[in-house]
Amino acid sequence: MNSIQETWVYLNASPLFHLTLTMVAFQAATWLFERGGRNPLLNPVLGAVIVIVLVLFATNTDYATYFEGAQFVHFLLGPATVSLAIPLYRQWDRVRGSAFAIGASLLTGSLVAILTTVGTAWLFGGSETLLASIAPKSATAPVAMAISEDLGGLPSLTAVLVIVSGIFGAMFGPLLLNLIGVKDWGARGLAVGTASHGIGTARALQVNETAGAFSGLAMGLNAIATALLVPILWGLFF
């Protein structure tokens, strides 16, 4: 028989532990979110990330080791993104009916996202590397990382900034939309998806199917718009 400590050392290095940690942390954060009346400020992604980072620091585990277990969850992001075709198809009549409004709003939103990000970071004294890393932050992570690398930014920093802006949008988006009095689910979803890609979409899907479909569509379209616009705008200023 092994001592419990030996078994623990073994388990801590196996993918099972960090996979389970991810699930348990998310369950706990979701429980808190439900208990708090689904208040967007109790965002479960943020809650789970805080718990996990604390555990990893406490057990002196690096991110690469953690990711060996967590990659099984991470992998499903791809199939989930493909699955956004289903809510989009269900809402297709609505989407087609306001195709021009969607395209124009998305393009405006994408421009605002890029210009205000770079402008604000520049005003507050951000370095050029920093500006390049944050410029594509409203696009979904793989796109944003590729753009950041092309401009001389740090792709792994970009990934973090993408996620943080996703969480921020999911937390405060509903509040801002209530403040300006936009009640239409399509417009709400489109706005959150443009600014906060998949994390905003995940949140929108929990609230309303129309919002989820518009948000998923905005995420896909903004990936394309950002990939086209950022290099052009960057060339104008730098």
Binding site: Y63, A80, T81, V143
Partner: protein, 115 residues
Amino acid sequence: MVGYFTLILVCQLIGELVVGTFGISIPGPVVGMLVLFSLLLMRGKIPKGLSKTADGLLQAMSLLFVPAGAGVMMHFKLLGEALLPLSAALIVSTSMTIIVTALMMRWLNRAGTDE
């Protein structure tokens, strides 16, 4: 269920192949979504099993961002050094983007229906 999950994976794989072959800077899964969407348009309805499989994945979508989110731990030093420009940019830009996009959409939709 297994069959429809396979279909989703095949769509993603096609997406990755297209993106890789043509060097497009759009993620493979986004192209995969368009592939699946085109199949649905051709079929004219969503098979029941596909609805179930997709809805299952989408309900869990928040969870799927957690592993990438924990990557924040690698950048605490850099984030700390540039806390002001980064947080200001994220807060201002994300809020402005949401507000402008939503107002633009409402305005254009109204302009469309008033005529």
